[in-house]
């Protein structure tokens, strides 16, 4: 895909040169972990039952890690399409459309640059979660495979949602459209999932819905490898199913994005 690398580099330059977006990108994960993880210390109420309620986690922060990592992927992904609309409004998109490149790379450069940003945020998040008092506790060790699962889950979530929003951005000229849709779906996506709370704490109908939410699949997979380290064969099976589900969805969405962006992107 000609043009992919230069366009990605350009997108990242814009990001780190804009002090606000760069600082927000760094501070956001800190807020997530510090505010959500310790301000709402749900484990206080659970007391000795903490581990039972939170699927084996020693505390809520450790439980929450999988959810927060997933949400970082989700949010960064959802907003990656918005820059395409920016470029359209500024006229810059015209320059890319005139260039002899595969037009899908206009869209995929955005997805790729959001991947880089996600990695940076994930690294910061882990750093902070480890150093903060009463932070993340990895009790049962972590293997290379666990890290691979963790990273792929976050990436696949970001692929799914950046694709979805890129397809919207391919044609629309209004930022409001994207903001509107993001506002509409981010709460249901987060709360109708196991990102923050285990199924046992949810109304039955909600936990039934959450089962089919890819945000749950990613949160649970990351959580299991972080909490349990080496998985039992039944746990490994669950993680495998979730990961395959995420993989199927990402491949489908990325292929759709390729087709739509290649053919339909316009001024």
């Amino acid at each position: 895909m000609g043009g992919l690398i230069p366009l990605t580099v350009r997108d990242l330059k814009r990001w780190y040169r804009n002090p606000v977006s760069a600082v927000v990108g760094v501070i956001q994960p800190i807020f997530w972990i510090v505010l959500f993880g310790s301000a709402f210390d749900i484990a206080k109420f659970a007391g000795a039952n903490t581990s039972a309620i939170f699927e084996g986690a020693p505390d809520y922060i450790t439980y929450l890690m999988g959810g927060i990592l997933t949400i970082i992927g989700l949010f960064t992904g959802m907003f990656s399409g918005i820059n395409i609309i920016w470029d359209r409004r500024l006229g810059i998109l015209q320059r890319f459309l005139m260039a002899p490149i595969n037009r899908a790379s206009i869209v995929f450069s955005r997805i790729l640059s959001s991947v880089v940003r996600i990695f940076i945020q994930v690294a910061i998040l882990f750093g902070i979660a480890f150093v903060m008092p009463n932070g993340l506790k990895i009790v049962n060790g972590i293997s290379i495979l666990d890290v691979v699962i963790l990273i792929s889950a976050v990436l696949m979530i970001s692929f799914i949602f950046s694709s979805l929003f890129s397809i919207i951005a391919v044609r629309t000229t209004k930022m409001e459209t994207v903001f509107g849709i993001v506002n509409l779906i981010n709460l249901p996506l987060m709360f109708a999932s196991y990102a923050m709370f285990p199924p046992d704490l949810m109304a039955t109908w909600l936990s039934n819905v959450a089962k089919y939410n890819p945000v749950s699949w990613s949160s649970q997979s990351i959580r299991m490898v972080l909490i349990h380290g080496s998985l039992t064969s039944s746990e490994a099976h669950t993680v495998l199913i979730y990961m395959l589900g995420l993989l199927a969805l990402s491949v489908f969405m990325l292929v759709m994005t390729y087709i739509v962006s290649n053919k339909e992107i316009r001024e």
């Binding site: 350009r10 804009n18 006229g91 320059r95 005139m98 002899p100």
Partner: protein
């Protein structure tokens, strides 16, 4: 003779309603500078956007250097250069970075690109500010950067959509001398839209007048001027009585009433007719506020074929556009 551009029945209807380009057919020879003249909203930019692949036509097709617009878009984009009417540079990148990005998109080898970028930056006098963010350029500097972005790939076919709008005289001259030199050297074809008729008159080998999306007339500047069959005399009168009387003046080949009680008459040869007209005016006690005699010019050609002045209200609009573009 090989044509660089062949347009066949091209039509563009925006969102189902506005017909911006209306069944345009046109042949443009290789190595030619071709002018497109038309008022605001005539459809010039739309036509260029279709030819450069930014927009899809509603119907019709075109061939550029032998490549079909609807089938070989990628090949066409590789050999064309565009200076669009809107700004397309990135304000968050420096002038040099903008040009480098364009060079990368066109897959120009690094070393070659660097040399060319240096030449281009010097040509438009931006070399000293090359590392400054484009958002910190003045309006004219930004436009100059835009210009050279279209030249980075040394195109075979170059589209210039009002390239000199808002530029100072020196830059305009630099640009045209550069364009003439690369045109000679590489035999590139140039399609140019502008509101400066003197530019078209001195530069374009051929031109078309476009109005409401349609090509009204095409030819060389000389041909079009000749087609007027004579000189133009315009009189500004005071009342309808005078207008009626002047309508009976026999020695004009054509008399038209324009806006604001202005009479536009065509005469075969103003040198001979003028004394006759003066006598007629005093005999009929018509005392015009002003009399203006013009030999055929592109301005006159434009008024003749569209009924309007190309630059009517233009100065204000140019300014508004220029401000917006910044």
């Amino acid at each position: 003779m090989d044509n660089s551009i062949e347009i066949e029945n091209l039509t563009k209807i925006y969102s189902g309603r506005v017909t911006a380009v209306d069944n345009v057919s046109l042949k443009i020879g290789r190595g030619m500078i071709y002018g497109l003249l038309g008022q605001n909203g005539a459809g010039k930019s739309t036509l260029i956007k279709i030819l450069t692949g930014v927009l899809k036509s509603t119907s019709g097709t075109a061939r550029i250097a032998g490549n079909d617009l609807n089938k070989d878009s990628l090949k066409i984009r590789r050999i064309t250069g565009v200076v669009p009417q809107d700004l397309t540079t990135d304000g968050d990148l420096s002038g040099r970075e903008n040009l480098k990005l364009v060079a990368e998109l066109y897959d120009i080898p690094k070393k070659e690109a660097e040399e060319r970028i240096e030449v281009l930056l010097k040509m438009v006098d931006l070399y000293d500010v090359r590392n400054r963010h484009a958002s910190a350029y003045s309006g004219g500097m930004r436009k100059r950067l835009e210009l050279v972005c279209g030249l980075v790939n040394t195109p075979e076919v170059l589209f210039l959509d009002e390239p000199t709008l808002g530029l100072d005289v020196t830059t305009r001259e630099n640009l045209w001398s550069y364009i003439r030199s690369i045109q000679k050297e590489f035999k590139i074809t140039i399609i140019l839209t502008t509101h400066y008729l003197d530019e078209v008159d001195s530069l374009a080998d051929e031109l078309s007048i476009i109005d409401h999306g349609k090509i009204i007339i095409s030819g060389t500047s000389e041909e079009l001027k000749k087609s007027l069959n004579g000189d133009i005399i315009t009189l500004k009168l005071k009342n309808d009585d005078e207008i009626n009387k002047i309508g009976e003046f026999k020695n004009a080949t054509e008399i038209k009433l324009m806006e604001n009680k202005e009479i536009r008459m065509k005469v075969s040869n103003s040198d001979e007719i003028l004394p006759v007209l003066m006598k007629y005016l005093s005999d009929n006690s018509i005392s015009p506020e002003s009399i203006n005699i013009r030999k055929p010019s592109l301005d006159e050609v434009f008024i003749e074929y569209t009924g309007r002045n190309i630059n009517a209200e233009q100065e204000n609009k140019d300014y508004a556009k220029f401000m917006r573009a910044r």
